[in-house]
Amino acid sequence: MNPERPPNGVLLEVHNISLAFGGVKAIEDVSFDIRDGEIRAIIGPNGAGKSSMLNVINGFYHPQQGSITYKGETRSQMKPHHAASRGIARTFQNIALFKGMSTLDNIMTGRNTLMKKNVIWQALYYGPARNEELKHREFAEHIIDFLEIQAIRKTPVGRLPYGMQKRVELGRALAAEPDLLLLDEPMAGMNVEEKEDMCRFVLDVNEEFATTIALIEHDMGVVMDISDRVVVLDYGKKIADGTPDEVRGNQGVIDAYLGVSHE
């Protein structure tokens, strides 16, 4: 699907990342890699630095130390829109949809980086701008079908229930045709059925679109079921990395979750 796919199978690698806000250390010297085509879970207790890690990967936070290698290109930091145009898309822990816009418009916004016609063509509308719009509309409709949200196409997203908003947000991220999809707690606050739906979408995205996925999730059942490999963070440090089975048996992980006093 993508000619830029690295030969060694590693899509993204973070090396020795450290991030601090003033005196607070959010991430300390963390390294791991994400292989092409896998589902990689990042887990850990609250405040472990998981969301900060995603923010570093797509350029929103700039780490004080370390570097990121993405598609064979190494850099210490990058701009968010650059990350987006290189194929990194994400969803957010607290839904960050554009509340005043419809579902369709939100998804179309995800394709903004792929659209090129300038404002004067847009003002004229008929001609190139319309053709471009239609081409991308078709793709957006493909995603709407995939996520089964046809009925709410024209509804302002502010009016949708929580679970639907999460789904639209996933749609917006998919619209960018990402190579790497970052999902920040895609199933938080959902009931069992909604979680099952979402799991199915995540697996389908991984299979049908061949998208590499990195996800943060608290539901261990879900993580163990769908992810290929898991990295565990605690207090900003990496404490384990491996297949779900390996991680499950790791003493450090058990301590972090069940609580052992930190001296």
Binding site: S85, K99, M101, T109, T113, A129, A173
Partner: protein
């Protein structure tokens, strides 16, 4: 009963994306346009043109411009009066420097010049947000008006500091100056407003409009999905100022005929246009036009009602008018903060169900 879209199916994305997807709406709008272009010119006299139609059209264009920036991109601006002044003075300079240039080109160029100035004053928006930005745009307002008042080159060193629009012909008909016919001036402005309202609608339903709205609704998320705040905000300032500049050109060239910067383009103008888009509806092109109509008509209505109807003294009437303006604004905000555009929408919803309540 007669306003139903049942049975109208969209079979292509083109049809689904049209501005007026419902057939009845299309009939209504085309009928309305026919009246505006073919009916009104027959009976328009100079009172109707000067007091109502021409100022309404100039303000409508300004309101559309400001709504693109404030309603769609979320950047509050109080510099509208200053930007209108740029458009007006650009028109004046261009038409006096190049008397043979076509007036339409002059106005478009004035818009372009205003757009450049707008981008310049829009640069702070990259670092400051919300009311800080609103206050910062006042810098543009005061600085520009001062500039046009002080630097003689802008008003061709006329001793009064006023600028006066020469008489200009379009297609052999005078459209500016004291001897232009009301119908010609009206049609000239109407043409501009209709064309550019359509262009604005096209912009906001496409990629650029979506990137503006994304910045408005959640700027961080917008940045993270690949929208550059720099490009989005500055393009909003540019397009908005382009509209406001053309509005200033019409306001000065076609309506006032002569203008003095402090009086004609003061900060009150900025507030007036802001009122128009708030009362009309933020983030709505139709709302901008409705708001402009409302704010143009209301003072005339109040004045006629009080001075002619109740025989109130003119000075007192002025004070009462100010008070009532304030009351009406507050009342409107309380009753329908989304403006006339939303009321129009609700009315249409009701009409769809009529004669049944649900």
């Amino acid at each position: 009963m007669f306003y139903r879209e049942a049975g109208q199916f969209k079979t292509s994305y083109i049809a689904d994306q049209s501005i007026l997807p419902i057939a009845q709406d299309r009939v209504f709008v085309f009928g309305f346009m026919a009246v505006a272009f073919l009916g009104v010119p027959w009976f328009i006299d100079s009172y109707w043109a000067n007091a109502i139609f021409v100022p309404f059209l100039a303000y409508a264009l300004a309101a559309i411009g400001l709504n693109l920036l404030t309603g769609y991109c979320g950047q509050v601006s109080l510099g509208t009066g200053g930007f209108m002044a740029v458009g007006a003075f650009a028109t004046f300079k261009l038409i006096t420097l190049f008397p043979d240039l076509n007036l339409i080109i002059v106005i478009l160029l004035s818009g372009a010049i205003t757009a450049a100035v707008g981008v310049l004053f829009g640069i702070p928006s990259l670092r400051i947000k919300g009311f800080y930005l609103a206050v910062a745009t006042l810098a543009a307002q005061f600085f520009l008006v001062w500039l046009f008042n002080k630097v003689g080159w802008f008003f061709n060193y006329s001793p009064t500091g006023q600028i006066t629009m020469p008489s200009v012909e379009m297609f052999g008909v005078l459209v500016t100056g004291p001897s232009a016919s009301p119908a010609a001036r009206y049609l000239f402005c109407l043409g501009f407003v209709v064309l550019f309202a359509l262009a604005a609608k096209n912009i906001v339903r496409g990629r650029v409009g979506r990137s503006w709205m994304a910045i408005r609704d959640m700027d961080i998320a917008a940045e993270l999905i690949g929208i550059r705040p720099l490009a989005a905000k500055l393009s909003a300032f540019a397009v908005s100022s382009f509209y406001i500049g053309m509005a200033g050109a019409l306001y000065f060239g076609v309506w006032l005929g002569s203008a003095e910067p402090i009086e004609a383009f003061g900060v009150e103008q900025s507030f007036l246009v802001l009122f128009m888009i708030i009362i009309g509806g933020l983030g709505s092109i139709l709302g901008s036009v409705l708001g402009a109509a409302f704010m143009t008509l209301m003072p005339i209505f109040l004045k006629n009602f009080m001075v002619d109807g109740l025989a109130v003294e003119v000075v007192t009437a002025k004070h009462v008018e100010i008070t009532l303006m304030g009351v009406l604004i507050v009342f409107f905000l309380i009753v329908e903060p989304h403006g006339l555009a939303r009321m129009w929408q609700i009315l249409k919803e009701k009409l769809r169900l009529w004669p049944f309540p649900y």
